[in-house]
């Protein structure tokens, strides 16, 4: 017991000295049953704000923001926001009933709160994976999309899709090819035979079980993270992260799981492709970055956002199957394809310099 008090004192010291309790600016937004944290970091006096829209749904980004994102935080104000029932978001919204309209409303609330607090002259939406859907939906979905577009300087889409069906249709043949190669080589034959059977009997994703199986095969075939990734491990103090940061571990793990296992929510997520028919409304400057190796959100899905249509074969004959190296620029839109990168979540891309330079150049050009 006598030793306990010095130990407790040490904990207090650790807690009170943690930079995570003082760095940047922290506040919450409340909307339709959800209390969502917003952490503003980087150059909070910059006139350019980048609102980060995380993936998942359910991944959160407050915890990810503990890893320094110096390539954007050195020059701009970066707004990390955990969406409803994700990461550190509190409250008790009904996950099964959440729809894109809720995410649009939440995004607008975050933008208005940031405007009220800082009044930046430029606001960019930067979506990662699912976050691209949220960003694109904010800009094109519903009746008042033009009013929302007027608030935004540009859209940065990284490894995203607005059309799960399109992405699945393009990923399935590539995974099948990989599976057949493994079977031929006699490697994990039973597993890859099940994989072949899955894709032959599942023309579209419908259920939690389907999505879980597909994601498993994407990961196993290197379509999520390229094997032997060149990305360095995150520079993170794990003790401070767990004991003295805004992050609580159980919500981080359990909210993600709650999203992934909610049948009603997942069915909506994988089957509602209505957003892909509204993409032609997108008029704000955009940069769309996709990974050539990505089987979670295939580059064809990125191309669809770039072209503003899901009929990419019609809009770009030939390119739908053999997109040239580098990318494509068209009007105020840029499509960039990273050759060695798969899903690239949280910026862990194998083409890190091209990725970072592409984003910075785009922001500076607007």
């Amino acid at each position: 017991m006598k030793r306990l008090f010095p130990i407790l004192g040490l904990f207090f010291l650790l807690a009170s000295c943690s930079p995570y309790y003082t760095e940047g600016d922290y506040f919450f937004v409340r909307n339709n049953g959800a209390d969502m944290p917003v952490w503003v970091k980087g150059q909070t006096d910059s006139d350019t704000a980048i609102i980060y829209l995380h993936g998942g749904p359910g991944d959160g980004c407050i915890h990810f923001s503990l890893v320094p994102q110096s390539f954007i935080e050195d020059n701009y104000m970066v707004v990390y926001w955990d969406q409803r029932h994700a990461g550190q978001a509190q409250g008790n919204p009904d996950i099964g009933a959440s729809r894109m309209e809720d995410y649009i409303s939440d995004t607008d609330l975050v933008i208005e709160a940031v405007t009220l607090r800082y009044n930046p002259s430029k606001i960019f939406l930067m979506g990662n994976s699912w976050g691209t859907s949220v960003g694109a939906a904010y800009l094109v979905h519903g009746d008042s999309y033009q009013v929302r577009q007027d608030k935004i300087t540009g859209l940065i889409s990284t490894f995203g899709t607005c059309d799960y069906t399109l992405s699945y249709e393009n990923a399935a043949p590539r995974i099948l090819t990989y599976a057949e190669e493994r079977i031929t080589q006699g490697i994990e034959t039973e597993y890859w035979t099940e994989c072949v059977s899955f894709y032959e009997t599942t023309p579209v994703l419908l259920t939690v079980s389907d999505l879980r199986s597909h994601t498993g095969y994407v990961i196993a075939s290197g379509g999520y993270t390229v094997a032997d990734s060149a990305s360095p491990p995150p520079d993170l103090n794990m003790v401070s992260f767990i004991l003295a940061s805004p992050v609580a571990m159980f919500p981080l793990i359990m909210t993600n799981g709650a999203n992934d296992t909610n049948e009603e929510f997942i069915q909506w997520l994988v089957s509602d492709d209505s957003l892909s028919f509204e993409l032609s409304r997108l008029s704000v400057p955009s940069i769309i970055i996709s990974g050539r190796q990505d089987l979670q959100a295939t580059w064809q899905a990125g191309l669809s956002l770039f072209l503003g249509t899901r009929d990419i074969e019609v809009a770009s004959p030939g390119y739908a199957t053999s997109m040239p190296t580098g990318g494509w620029s068209n009007g105020n839109r840029i499509f960039m394809i990273l050759e060695s990168t798969a899903h690239g979540s949280f910026g862990t891309t194998e083409d890190i310099e091209i990725y970072q330079n592409g984003i910075i150049s785009f922001i500076e050009s607007e």
Binding site: M1, K2, L4, F5, L8, F11, F12, L14, A15, Y20, Y21, Y26, F27, F28, V29, R30, N31, D35, P37, W39, H85, Q88, A89, Q90, G91, N92, P93, D94, I95, L109, E112, A113, L116, I242, L243, A244, S245, P246, V247, A248, F250, P251, M254, T255, A258, N262
Partner: protein, 184 residues
């Protein structure tokens, strides 16, 4: 709101204290995930005392802050089994259930009455709280009738995004639990 709830709980404890002696009281540091600081108070009366096994029922109040995450306030009913004294301690195990309120720790923005975004009042979220704890009353280190106590608590906050969210906490405090109980 927070002050009112706290006052109600303190009055409840005082009421229990006046109505039924001897009151077993405990108070101390409440560390949610060890380092999110707070305090707790527990008060109860023995309802069973045989062969130095003691069952105590009462109330448990606590509050803590997880900076930039949330502030928690607990008002729980508690039942505790205290085992006979060992060499320097008495082991106890308890069940808790009651009210658990949380407030996000930060300025809250939301739609105002006219629909525009503004700072709104942070009313927090009510929850059902329940859980269990284990503790050690260390009479080997007692002084002036005061016994140091160590307590490990697992609490669940429900509903939280549709599920019961676990919290782990460590309590370090003092109690007036005597070394030995006279049997009734």
């Amino acid at each position: 709101m927070k002050t009112t709830l706290l006052m109600l709980l303190i009055m409840t404890i005082c009421g229990v204290s006046a109505a039924a002696a001897p009151l077993i009281f405990e108070a101390g540091y409440f560390g949610e995930t060890l380092t999110h600081p707070g305090g707790y108070m527990a008060a109860g009366i023995p309802v069973y005392n045989r062969a130095q096994h003691l069952i105590v029922t009462g109330v448990y109040v606590g509050s803590y802050i997880h900076p930039r995450n949330h502030i928690g306030l607990l008002g729980l009913a508690r039942g505790e089994l205290i085992r006979p004294p060992r060499r320097i301690y008495r082991f106890s195990a308890g069940l808790l259930a009651g009210y658990y309120h949380t407030w996000p720790d930060g300025t809250m923005y939301g739609p105002g009455q006219d629909g525009t975004v503004t700072i709104i009042s942070n009313t927090g979220t009510p929850h059902f709280g329940f859980g269990f704890d284990v503790g050690w009353h260390i009479h080997g280190l007692a002084f002036s009738g005061i016994t140091p106590a160590l307590r490990l608590t697992c609490l669940f906050e429900y509903p939280y995004n549709g599920f019961a969210l676990p919290h782990f906490a460590m309590g370090v405090g003092i109690s007036n639990l005597p070394t030995e109980e006279s049997e009734e």
